[in-house]
Each structure stands twice: as structure tokens, then as C-alpha cells.
Subunit: 460 residues, 2 copies
């Protein structure tokens, strides 16, 4: 039963399991106590901190353990912004950061701060120029992920860190997706990561604050972990997290090559065997294990369900699989299709045979969903006369507005237009993306009584 | 090697260990995902929530899991205060709350809120009258622990909850020390607890917010755990935490009786066999496993070290064992002696023979420390004439100022005074406590060039 959602949570690494079991009896006591159980716990904690710091490439006293990657981000961003309050109240984030970063930015903005969101290319990457261009004299902090969690695109973190250093602005790097593969390059100032992304247990994050970076922990005082992560330390989990980080690092070079070949196979195979598909993310500068694609005329939730029935656990950034009804902000920022979106993220050790079986199953699964939804089939459509057609898709969710558009586009003559009325948030992304994939012209969006009107001109 | 510091962290319960192992393979995936690994994780999380809610006596949708008890307190207090902002900006806490509550109150005060600290009796308990008297029309929240973590005294939570209900003020109960023994009585509104206090693993806290209580989570948005506890859920640890809660509850009545007898034996034995000792905390209304006492003329750190060498792991609220150089705020609020303070907190399953051995070892250990410190020995002292003596203890730490006072008190005639100069924070607590234990009169404290002058009149 292949699990292909390692970017959400990786299965527990065997080394993590062993380390957890071994330290359950040694690491449960309070490391602040002076008696032997406390000293033992303290030794485990200190040794873990040293090993983690070595893997990150920092000093042990720069690194604290937090209860999650999310907490590392929340505490890190808030502490850095407060520590640099006198420098200014301006924060830079990329448009494709993890939600924990973006939600931290929202809190900052609601408290009177200014936030610049640096846009990304269609590949999902920022350019160094646009990022550097956002730096201001009152910039307190800049945030950039090492690699994207939804599409795998690597960011130019090293060069952005250099630009930030020149500007005297600390760079906070969310390294959640990449730390298992290697240290983050460049003169970054703060870093966050999450153990369950590299096969460690849940409940452990890392926050690194380089010496010399002004940092003022927020929230109630707590003496643990240098005051940067409140609450009793979860030492057995920390030991397990660090043991698995070392284990995956030892295998990283070989495994990266192997997974990169497998995801390359998926990129090529999907494009070849699934019609009307867009493989998204940078083809070269990407994480080894992640590949993401979107399928026209497909409801993401139904496709995930079909793949689950076939034994494949994957994830999706389509709005129809989430409770929020808005498509992934990452796909939106990239300007790519969101409907029928599938993220495949291979855990280390994934067998090639499982990938082959996935490639064999996928076209049938996509076709099945399209058939159920009545997706348009290729072939000529009779032009019915009118130069402009209106499609009322109000109240209908992704991918129905796009399906209805595709069904009628052939009915207007070349040069004619179709106006799609839709109140589904995904249409704003998916109708332009459909036009780009199909060589039609996306004219624009106009306000309507309900929702919006999306105007499309037939070019072929 | 008896571990007698269960109030800091209890050793992992065998049931917790089993449950943790069993759920490592089932509970690592993201419970928000729709595929089978996610559904399995979700089922474990839901089942744990139901079982925890049953043990607490609340609805499952009123209970969330947090990464620690500290986090449950921080999130709970901040959310309740923000939710009731329109009711007012007044917070009530008892003077002996856990530091996580008091530090939350500090954050509230620094943001412009007003905090009333309700004093306690010498037993460590608030009175219902004084607590109810602190309620105001603008009180947003009231906090009271179910039982004290340092001295074991139970608070009149049920009656205080009734008073709060009558006043329309929600009561937040820190139940960290008591939840393993039974549910908290009375119409409380919010509750926090910590799994590693009842033999669960580290990394799990509980936060309960009753339906109808206004609550506005603070910090960056995060959809997990009803938005009340950010970060990826640690499901194996949650499963283990709840399994051990059920297990300790099943044994609670019998074990409470057994431990109460053992701590009763310690209370009596210490008072009988150690001279110049004060057993503190309520003798009746107390947790089964905790007993606390303070020894005159003893340095807490040295005593802990001696007991550790004898194989006993205990804790202390003396300033000399902490990095802060201020004695425990609990002992201070109670007005009891802090020097030579020892907290014995027995884990469930503690053998009677270990308690007996502790009682055999303790008098010798205390005597040894006193001898090293040159503590005064009983017996007559020649009056040297002067009506007032000055003892300069500046720069000397607890218990030296008290030892020096005790050595010279016999040198002034009855009715004469000794003036102790000290800049040690503990002297403010320990000199009056010594007077009370020795039947001498504590006249008061006066400012001095450095530190303070403490004036004592010889009565006998």
C-alpha cells in the first residue's frame, strides 16, 4: 500500500523508532533537576542538541527544540520581529510560504506591521532580484522557504541570504521540506524545521537563531529552551528526531539520486499518458521526492478517493479537497491550474515498482473521474451562431465551471467570446490556466451580480 | 533507586508505553488527510478525545490536545481573556498558581490588564471568601489550581467555581496535579492538564473550554485542534497519554489511600525525627502523594545532593537550588520557611519500604548538612551584654543569615534585639519563619545601605 505523501508526514524511520524506545526509560524526567534521572535527561537533551546543530550547521546554543515545526515558525517569526522592532515594522515573505509563515505575517499586519509578499515565477520560485528589491531600510525580517512544500521547487535561498546580509536584514528560512536532504546554504539568520518531515516522530521542531540576531521571545516567560519554546521538553521524541535526521542524512545523497529519477519518471509519465494535464513546479531545481500535477476537468477529491481505493495515498492543493473552498495559495501564486491537483511526495525507500504501478493506475483513474463529471471529449463541435455565449456556473464548484466552458467554446466562432459566470474561488485561477493550456485567450474578469464574469476569446 | 519527584514528571506508565508502541505505526499520518493512513490517525485522535473527555467530565468537542500543560495554560488563559475583552480587563489568580499561569498574568498586565492576586492561608489554600471578594464587574477571567504543585494543598475549587458562576465569570482550573486522581468538581469553565504528571508521555497537554465560554484563540491562525493548539498533532503520544489516564484512574481510589498513608507517615516521621523542621501544606485537604517540609539551617541544594547520593530523587523550592536566587513563590505566599525545603512526591506504586528507608536516611542527611554549615547546636549561650547586636550577612546566601542569627540570639538579653543585615531574597521569608518556629519576635524589616535590615527581639 504505497504512501506517497511524505511532504505531509513521513512514516517513522526505523532508527527513530529504536531511539524513541531506548530513550523512553532514560529521558522522561525533568532535565532542569539535579538528581540522577534529571541529569540523565539533561545529557540526552544536550547530546541531541549537539547532533542536531551539527546537522544544521550551527552552534548548539543557537538551536532549541520546539513542539512542532509550526511552533518553530510562530515563535521564530514573532521573536525576530519583536527583537528588531527598532529597525522597523516591515516584513517580507514569499507568496508561496507555508501557511504557518503567512499566518504569522497576518498577525504582524493586524498589529500594524507592513508585509510585502514577493511574487513567484510560474515555476514557484522567487527571483533574487525581485526578492532583493523588496528589502527596505525599515525591513525587520525577511522569510523564505528553502523549498516549496506543494510543488518541490527550490528557492534561491543562498543568494537571497547574501542580499539580505548586505542589507543588514535577518533572513528566516523555513527549511521544513529540505533539512533531511542537507543543510541550508548561505548566511541565513534564523531557521525552522519539523522532525516528522524527515521520519522523526511528531512533536519535535527546531528553531535556530544565529548569535548576534536580535531576538525577543514573545508570550509568557518560560525558562526552558533558552526561553524560546515554552513547555516541558519531550526528550524521548527529541532523541528520536535527531537520530533519524542523522540516519536520513547518511543516506541522503544516494537516496536523493534514486528518488529524483523516480519523480522524473512520474513527471514524464504523467505528461505522456494523461491528456490535459499540467505538471507544475521547476523541472530541475526541485526536491528529490516531490512531483505535482493538475488535471483538467477533474475533481481533486474524487481523484484522491479513486487513488486511495487503488492503494495510493497522495495529497492535493485543489480547493475541492479542502474545507476552505479556496485553492492552494501556492498554485494560485504560480498561476497554474489547481483543479484535479495531485501532489506525489515519495518517502525515502519508495520502491520503483510502486511508482510504475502508480503510473499504470493514474490514467484510468483520471479518465474515470472525467467520465463521471461529463468532461468534454476531444472532437469538433458545431458552431451554433452567436458571437458571445454566457455560461451560468453560479453555485457550481471546481471543476464544473471549466468543464462547462470547454463544452461550449466550440460553439462560438473563432474570435467569439464565452462569458463564464462563477462564484467559485477556483475559477479565478483555473479559467486563465485552461486558456493557457488550450491556446485560447483569457480576456479578463469583470464583476457580476453574483461572483464574477470570466471572459474567454476563442482563438482556435 | 526511589524516584520521589512525581509532581515534576511521573515515570512513563507501562500502559502508556504499550499504547505508544502500538500507535507509532498507526498514528503518524496527518489526521486531516482523506487517505487511509490519515483516516486511521483521525480515528485514533477522535477515540482519544472521547476517552479523555469522559475522564475529565466534558464533551469531546470541548477538549483539545496541546503540546504540553504549559501550552494549555498559555493558550487557555490568553484565549479566554481575549474572548472576554468586552467584559473587562481584570484577571484573578491565586498567589500560589503554577508559574505558567502567573507568567500569563504578567503578559496580560504588561498589555494594560489588571491582575488581582488572591493570598493564601499558611496552609497554602485560598479561602472561598477572599477569592469571591476579588470578583469584580469587569473581571474577565479567574484562575485557580485544583491543588498546589509544591505543597499538595487542595484548593476549594468547587465552591470558588460556584462563586464565579454566580458572578458570571469563567473559572480556569489548572488541574495538572490532580487530574490523574479524579475529575475536578464544580461548574468550572476552562481546564488545563499535563499528561506527564499522570504517567503519560511528555508532549501532551489538555485544554478544555466549556461550550458557551467566549474564547478567542490568540497567535497565528492554525486549523488544527479547533484552532486552539497550533501544530501537527502528536497522535501516538496522545493515545498513550489517554490510555495512561484511564489506567491511573482505574487504580486511583486504592492508590490514593495507600499513598496518603505513606505521605502521612512521612509527615509524622519527619516532624518526629528531624529537629527544627516545619512540615508545610494542609495536613488534611491535600493530594495523596505530596509532602513538603523545610529544615532550618540547611542549604537545600546540599541536602538534595546528599539525598541523591542515598538514591532519593526529590525536589526543592529553596532558592539555593534554583538559578533565580529567589525562593519559591508558593512558600513565600504561604509565609513558611523556605530554607532546606524538600518536596517529596511519590509516584503511584511507590513501595512502603522505600518510604521507610527515606525516613531512616533523612535525619542523618540533614544533620550532616547542618554540621558542614556550622549550624547552631542547642544549649545555653552566654549573654555578652549588649542590648542590640548587628549581624552582617551581606553577600551570604540562605541559610547562612538565619544560622548567624540563631548563633547570636542568645547573646542579647531577653527583650534585646538582633539586627540582621542581608541582601539575600530568602532572608525576607526565612527570618520571620525562624522567629515563628523559635518563639522569638519578628519586629520588621528596614531599608539598609545594601539589602535590608531584619529586626528580631529575643523573647525567650
Amino acid at each position: 500500500m504505497p504512501y506517497f505523501d511524505a511532504a505531509s508526514a513521513a512514516p517513522l524511520h526505523p532508527v527513530a523508532r529504536q531511539a524513541l524506545l531506548a530513550s523512553l526509560d532514560e529521558g522522561w524526567a525533568d532535565p532542569a533537576r539535579l538528581y540522577r534521572e534529571g541529569r540523565r535527561a539533561r545529557m540526552l537533551l544536550d547530546a541531541s542538541r549537539e547532533a542536531a546543530a551539527e546537522a544544521v550547521g550551527c552552534r548548539p546554543d543557537e538551536l532549541v527544540f520546539t513542539p512542532s515545526g509550526t511552533r518553530a515558525v510562530h515563535n521564530g517569526v514573532a521573536g525576530a520581529l519583536a527583537g528588531r522592532r527598532r529597525a522597523g515594522r516591515h516584513l517580507i515573505v514569499s507568496a508561496v510560504e507555508h501557511s504557518s509563515v503567512l499566518h504569522s505575517a497576518e498577525v504582524f499586519a493586524s498589529g500594524g506591521g507592513t508585509v510585502t509578499e514577493v511574487p513567484v515565477l510560474r515555476s514557484g520560485a522567487v527571483t533574487v532580484e525581485s526578492y532583493a528589491g523588496a528589502l527596505r531600510s525599515d525591513t525587520a525580517l525577511a522569510c523564505l522557504q528553502s523549498a516549496n512544500h506543494e510543488v518541490g521547487t527550490e528557492q534561491p535561498v543562498g543568494e537571497v541570504a547574501e542580499a539580505c546580509r548586505e542589507a543588514g536584514v535577518p533572513l528566516f528560512v523555513d527549511a521544513a521540506q529540505s533539512l533531511g536532504w542537507g543543510p541550508v546554504e548561505g548566511p541565513w539568520s534564523l531557521l525552522a524545521a519539523s522532525a516528522h518531515k524527515w521520519g522523526g516522530p511528531s512533536g519535535v521542531g527546531l528553531l535556530v537563531v544565529r548569535k548576534g540576531v536580535r531576538f525577543a521571545p514573545q508570550g509568557p516567560l518560560d525558562e526552558r529552551e533558552s526561553g524560546r519554546a515554552a513547555g516541558f521538553e519531550n526528550i524521548p521524541a527529541i532523541v528520536a528526531a535527531v537520530a533519524s535526521l542523522r540516519a536520513v542524512r547518511a543516506e541522503a545523497a544516494a537516496e536523493a539520486e534514486r528518488l529524483r529519477e523516480l519523480t522524473g519518471r512520474i513527471r514524464a509519465g504523467v505528461a505522456r499518458s494523461v491528456p490535459d494535464v499540467e505538471v507544475v513546479g521547476d523541472a530541475e531545481r526541485r526536491l528529490p521526492g516531490i512531483v505535482t500535477f493538475s488535471c483538467l476537468y477533474v475533481d481533486g477529491e474524487t481523484l484522491l478517493h479513486e487513488l486511495d481505493r487503488e492503494g495510493f495515498s497522495v495529497s492535493s492543493g485543489s480547493s475541492c479537497t479542502s474545507s476552505t473552498l479556496t485553492p492552494s495559495h501556492v498554485l494560485k501564486a504560480m498561476g497554474v491550474l489547481s483543479e484535479g491537483n495531485v501532489r506525489v511526495s515519495l518517502p525515502t525507500g519508495t520502491a520503483g515498482a510502486d511508482v510504475e504501478r502508480f503510473l499504470a493506475v493514474l490514467p484510468r483513474a483520471v479518465a474515470g473521474v472525467r467520465e463521471k463529471l461529463g468532461a468534454p471529449t476531444p472532437g469538433p463541435t458545431a458552431v451554433t451562431g452567436a458571437d458571445e455565449l454566457v455560461v451560468d456556473s453560479l453555485g457550481k464548484l471546481c471543476p464544473v465551471p471549466v468543464i462547462e466552458l470547454a463544452k461550449v467554446i466550440g460553439q462560438v466562432p473563432v474570435g467569439g467570446t464565452v462569458r463564464v459566470l462563477s462564484d467559485d474561488e477556483a475559477a479565478r485561477l483555473d479559467i486563465p490556466a485552461w486558456c493557457q493550456m488550450r491556446g485560447q485567450e483569457y480576456v479578463g474578469e469583470e464583476p457580476a451580480d453574483r461572483g464574477s464574469a470570466y471572459l474567454v476569446r476563442r482563438l482556435l
